[in-house]
Amino acid sequence: MQTINFLKPNRDNIKNYSIIGSFLVLVSLIDVISNAFLKVNLTSFLPGSLTTLFPLIIGLIGLNMMRIDYSGNKKLDLLNKNINTNNFNALLTLLILFSIIKALPQSLSWMIFDATISGDSKDACTGTGACWTYIKVWFRRFMYGMYPNEFHWRINTAFILVIALGFVGYFMKENLKKYLALYYVIIYPVIAYLVIYYLISGGSFGLQWVETGAWGGLSLTFIVSFFCLIFCFPLGMIFALGRRSNLPAIKYISICYIEFWRGVPLITVLFMSSVMFPMFLPEDFFMDKLVRVIIAITLFEAAYCAEVIRGGLQSLPRGQYDAAKSLGMGYWKMHIFVILPQALKLVIPGIANTFLALVKDTPLIFVVGLAELAGMLALAKTNPKWLGFAMEGYIFASIVFWIICYAMSKYSYNLEAKYKTER
């Protein structure tokens, strides 16, 4: 025990100990880095397995010397509290650090240093690194699917219009603010639908008709996510209220609806919507596959939204209901002005969760033949001219999805902060 006591600092000598400790950790890191990047083994003088374990041992001793309950140094305390609470955690910290350092050179050289981006055919990719040429050449397909190249401006214009219309709420005059919810729940989706229908589908105003089968890529991801998000939220709200209703018929219909859609996998819902559903329709009635898929996903996600919102409704104290009722408010006034504004605020994290899951579920529509971003990748990787670049494609798709989802979650944090109220 003497040696361990010898390595244990107290508040008086912590300064010396932390200097020696951090020096030892630094040495261990330098050893690993030089090993990984420069392929130089600094400790080759040590025998056998000891040379591999050397950085770990040195690092552990270093971290052990720095560990103290309360040092008074803020940074050191933070470090000790988070990654250096005991020997086991110190070991984990070092192992994680080392494996990141070990993995870095290979992945960096594959992704950047040895990668190819020039040229426009597979022949350009001769190196050992990634072939970004593949992404470059297929970029338009990944973005717009099979949509004819010369009409891509139509998709871009439609998206810009839809986004611009989404910002109208910010510029609305004060006296029109009360119609904001109406605008976003009813008017906006209708306008957006018309914009997308007339611009992207075409068929009138001298625009050539492009069938939805040709739509694809990231733009299809956006279209599907957009409509599903915008419709599933109000629908979920209705079912959440319905499930808490005092009227048995409404209550049980809501429960059945929610339990049904939560019980079936999305993939079967999509199959049903594209294969079985048309069989039940009258002969002369036609509904586009894309529309059917959007409706299916909306109904599916609405059930999840409903449960999230119900959680928010239940977390409000009963007193809020009592107070609203005692002021003479009826069911709808009570919910619109008192209950929902508070409940929806509480469920922002949960709703963001559901929405992110929805966006990431959209690739599933590939099973019914709609190729959005991930679907286009699946098609592209089987192209005989471009075999063998699945990896690059999936990395590209992950990055794109990550950016979309991260932006959404950031936005939800902002909303949370904006609508935070003290209780």
């Binding site: 005692s326 002021l327 003479g328 003290e422």
Partner: protein, 244 residues
Amino acid sequence: MSDPIIKIQNMNKWFGDFQVLKNINLEVEANKKIVVCGPSGSGKSTLIRCINRLEEHQEGDIIVDGNELSEKTKDIEKIRAEVGMVFQQFNLFPHLSILDNCTLAPIWVKKMPKKEAQELALDQLKKVQIDDQANKFPGQLSGGQQQRCAIARALCMQPKIMLFDEPTSALDPEMIKEVLDAMVSLAKGGMTMIVVTHEMGFAKEVADEVIFMDEGMIIEKADTKEFFANPKSDRTKLFLSQIL
């Protein structure tokens, strides 16, 4: 003698198998102030919550301002608008400012123009001396200020009857006084009030009648002076000896 504004006849209420209110008979005339007291769990709160039908009774009649409360009552909102209520936990709407708390119901229930509602609200807030806090949010106010705001909010509906459900029980001793002051001045203004409280000083000062409840029954109902001077039942005597 005028018709009573609240009339309760042979009212019984159960929570499941448990009978909370047993054979309640009560008449309250307009402009009278009634204090309801009794040990906890005696059904006081439930009784006044029945008067604006936040709780439903199973047997008997409750008639408020000429309207009978029952499952068939269609315009329960209209009756509730006539009956203001103040709760133990204030129950202000935390997402709205003090002023909006007060104007919400007048604007949307009574269809009052916004400007008029705001003037009325400021007037009421001034009476409870928190008009300078009008633009703050409930979370920024002390308990006493919140409760006074809750009183103002109820008064903004210009009710005929005010119900108070232990309005001072959740407050610090220091804040109790400011809330009671607001209630006393309201009482002097001639409002019909039913107050569930343990503040016997308040009862002595403003109440016309005191009701003592225990185990869901009205044990004693008497003029205030009579009630404190010579209570009739032994249960009341015991209760008074413990809290006075």
